[in-house]
Symmetry: C2
Subunit: 379 residues, 2 copies
């Protein structure tokens, strides 16, 4: 059964696309980057900063939220937006990925995955139906189907088995989502590891089932960028033009530029906040390690041309001092600086696609990265 379409394609430029996805909590301009608010909070950032930085939508982790504070509790408190104070759209993952990476004593069957919480050892069962139920309780604008995401490298037979299981779970997820109110969305997830024909088969199978949008999962798990891009190129031609496409867990600014060029509309990654906590800044001229001693006496900001107040308003010397001293404010400032950089990149991407200048935009951005950071001030 074909589901209503809430995505409007506004312009294309080559394979790159820009559009608007309308959710119950507001509009999402695409290509969109979703900062990750793991357990109902962005690490080191206030929600107002996430919004000010230009993010239309954030991602919440079902695994974390179902363990603590619990989906039924969040529902009783009015859903994720009321609970957290983030008033915009939220996408939740299915929980499957983190069950695989964080939980203890996992056991996978056709019916469900059972596991023990990494927090207190309590037993949980996550089936496709329970994952949808949890995401509905959270009040997520966009829910993801439960899938099995396996690590690469893997045997082809294992990749195929997981892909086929994910397709059967996709069908069950869709049935479980039937009672969701109008406007809420469910995305299927294409798997298939690094095997081109399995990627195509998975995408085709999902489209036959029919979803509001389509994700490409199981990438950015350590494989070379070329493999990731090749798999995107296998999957996207199978997906309908008029539906949003989400590349899960990606990635670096470079990855995003390449994936947008191949028709991806949505991204999420912990990198801007995680790297920020480790003293790294994303800037126009590439990544900068503020821990480096060369910044200790440098009064210049990270990028005086940036429109983001903290990027153009704090000296490298101060940021260096905060990082070296382990001050929370260092992590806070670098997290917002990085999220703002990602959002400004997405803004530039959207504008360039709308104007039909995406290729030259991409070349200019890459040339700036290649230049590297401005030279230290001569003493």
């Amino acid at each position: 059964m074909s589901l209503p379409n809430h995505f409007k394609l506004v312009a294309t430029d080559g394979a790159a696309r820009t559009g608007v996805l309308t959710t119950p909590h507001g509009a999402v301009r695409t290509p969109a980057f979703m900062p990750v608010g793991t357990a109902g909070a962005m690490k080191g950032m206030h929600w107002r900063e996430v919004r000010d930085a230009g993010a239309d939508i954030v991602l919440g982790n079902t695994y974390h939220l179902m363990l603590r504070p619990g989906a039924e509790r969040v529902a009783a408190l009015g859903g994720l937006q009321n609970f957290t104070g983030w008033q915009g759209p939220m996408l939740t993952d299915s929980g499957g990925f983190q069950v695989m990476s964080l939980a203890q004593l996992r056991k996978l069957s056709e019916r469900a995955v059972t596991f023990r919480s990494h927090i207190d050892g309590m037993s949980f069962e996550l089936s496709p139906e329970r994952s949808i139920e949890v995401q509905r309780l959270l009040g997520s604008d966009i829910a993801m189907q439960l899938d099995e995401c396996i690590r690469l490298p893997a045997e082809r037979s294992d990749i195929e088995r997981a892909m086929q299981l994910s397709l059967r779970w996709a069908e069950r997820s869709k049935r479980a989502f039937e009672t969701a109110p109008a406007g809420y969305m469910l995305f299927g997830i294409a798997q298939g590891g690094d095997v081109p024909e399995l990627r195509r088969a998975s995408a085709r199978g999902l489209v036959e089932i029919g979803f509001h949008g389509y994700a490409i999962g199981g990438l950015a798990v350590g494989e070379p960028q070329s493999v990731m891009l090749a798999m995107i190129e296998e999957a996207t031609p199978m997906l309908p033009q008029d539906r949003p496409r989400y590349l899960m867990g990606v990635g670096t600014p470079e990855d995003i530029l390449e994936a947008v060029a191949r028709g991806i509309d949505m991204f999420d990654c912990v990198m801007p906040t995680r790297n920020g906590r480790h003293g790294m800044a994303f800037t126009r001229y590439g990544q900068i390690n503020l821990r480096n001693a060369r910044h200790a006496d440098d009064p210049r900001p990270l990028d005086e041309q940036s429109a983001w107040p903290s990027t153009c308003g704090y000296s490298r010397a101060y940021l260096h001092h905060l990082v070296r001293s382990g001050e929370t404010l260092g992590a806070m400032l670098l997290s917002e600086i990085n999220v703002a950089y990602y959002q400004s990149l997405m803004h530039g991407i959207r504008d360039a696609i709308a104007q039909g200048t995406f290729e030259s935009f991409r070349e200019r951005i890459r040339a700036d990265w290649a230049k590297g950071d401005i030279a230290p001030r001569s003493a």
Copy 2:
């Protein structure tokens, strides 16, 4: 020699006073509470939040700043305000207190205290002259003399020896400060432990030397509140009415009310941010431990009548979840909530003194604290 006076007493109510202290970086309304921005940063707070919360002035720790990033470096970067981005007045302590509590291999002589850094073991010497030099390099609006602060309980002879040394260091500090530009201030520090006559002698000795303002030090180090208040009552009658009085390292909201009633104008304490990091909120109805399970399902804010957005805008359930999950945002929100509470208390104190209603204000505040937190919602 009498120093210029930058303090203007606006009104008194009993022994309580309200006024304005004018510094090179702006005016400070008194009674004032100074949040502590230890090493050039408030833990878990942006400077704009400190300002928005109502703080006119913050405190920086000379010990931390001289070790990292270093006073000469801060001076080359334009002083503390330019370095940190906090554009208002700053008071710095002398470094002496933290040399005693944090540094290794301390050695005290008439001339100076030598010690090794707790960060990297490097040797430093802090004399009264070097402390003033460091504070001048930092660009502090209000510098404090170096003193010897001893732990209580202590022998009277030890207390007296430390008090007399502090007086001799007060004289040397004043001489070292002579070249400071107009408008910058130096405060002397009255010592004397818990011995009334030593407290009086110390205060008298300082007034003979003459300072821009006077601090009472060596309290809030574990003694009962009654002893602290008794020592304030010994010292303040010795101090000139027209100069600001600063009670160092104090304290709880209760301590502040009592000290204001005894003529104190300035306070500093890490309590609002430190307790915030440990899940405690200061509110109109006393301290609330957000870690407590009774908040887990409570949709109500900490205090719906508060004017501070985070105090009236986030549910107890959300704050509880953040604290239990160890999310940075929990420490960030509770730090700002607590600093805002302290500042709103000071605001109320200043208004009440100006209106001659301080006693009834104090009674009302204490009655609210005594009521305790609002009851949990019945399930």
